[in-house]
């Protein structure tokens, strides 16, 4: 996890399933609570796999970020993760971007 001003970039690695979701959730929520985070970027460039548990994680964080008037962006999901995102419909609420730097700039 990295901060760019008030934007938190969460870079996930490996496989985001129900088992890993609890851990990820806690980590992000702690960071949101403890420092002034307004916007959140999920950097999925190194995430290999995600099932619908990941959708729960994304929507949960989207709600709390939205509550403080911030924005959420998803960066570089692979094809499998893109399909999960498409099925869930969350791309209607959360933009999907192919470039991390661009995403960060958008939120500055």
């Amino acid at each position: 996890m990295k901060r760019h001003f008030n934007t938190l970039v969460v870079t996930l690695k490996g496989e985001l399933d129900a088992h890993y979701a609890g851990f990820v959730r806690e980590k992000i929520d702690n960071e949101i609570l403890n420092s002034k985070v307004k916007n959140l970027i999920f950097d999925f460039s190194r995430l290999e796999f995600m099932d619908s548990s990941g959708i729960g994680v994304i929507i949960g964080r989207y709600k709390s970020i939205k509550a403080v008037g911030g924005k959420v962006i998803i960066v570089k999901p692979n094809r499998q993760i893109k399909r999960i995102i498409d099925i869930s419909g969350i791309q209607k609420l959360i933009p999907v971007n192919d470039n991390l730097d661009e995403a960060i700039k958008k939120l500055l």
């Binding site: 496989e15 129900a18 088992h19 796999f49 959708i55 729960g56 949960g60 499998q80 399909r83 999960i84």
Partner: protein, 138 residues
């Protein structure tokens, strides 16, 4: 049936990835595309997650997976002896979940249906749930 594998393991979250690895390794001999393999892995992940999270709540149970190859068809059966589903039709609706407090999205069955060719869910209250999915490798 050309070949099959059965696996059985405790309903622990740490075993979700194992289920995906085993099924993917087994199916890979049909020479699927990366997308087909990802579809099957994802559907298995959803079914196994449900068995771990919903079927046994916080108690420990056993999850059974059978994977069969018939020509170019893959059949995956995920079974638990957990609490069962009262209304299967309702459970299969997109966004329906009984565990919103755990941030379940209610998209598990929808993902299985979308990624596989067929999906059948058989459940009996108090007895358990069996999910049967098939997919033809092109």
């Amino acid at each position: 049936m050309d070949n099959y594998i059965k696996i059985e393991f405790k309903s622990k979250g740490v075993n979700e990835s194992l289920a995906r690895i085993v099924v993917a390794a087994f199916v890979s001999r049909l020479d699927p595309t990366l997308d087909e393999l990802a579809d099957i892995k994802t559907a298995v992940s959803e079914a196994v997650t449900n068995a771990i999270i919903h079927a046994y709540d916080d108690e420990e149970g056993v999850v059974y997976i059978t994977c069969e190859l018939n020509g170019k068809e893959v059949k995956v059966i995920v079974e638990d002896k957990g609490k069962g589903i009262e209304d299967v039709k309702q459970a299969m609706q997109p966004l329906f979940t009984t565990k919103p407090e755990e941030e379940r999205s209610g998209m598990g069955f929808t993902v299985m249906e979308t990624f596989m060719d067929t999906l059948e869910v058989i459940s009996q209250k108090g007895k358990g749930t069996t999910v049967i999915m098939t997919k033809k490798i092109k």
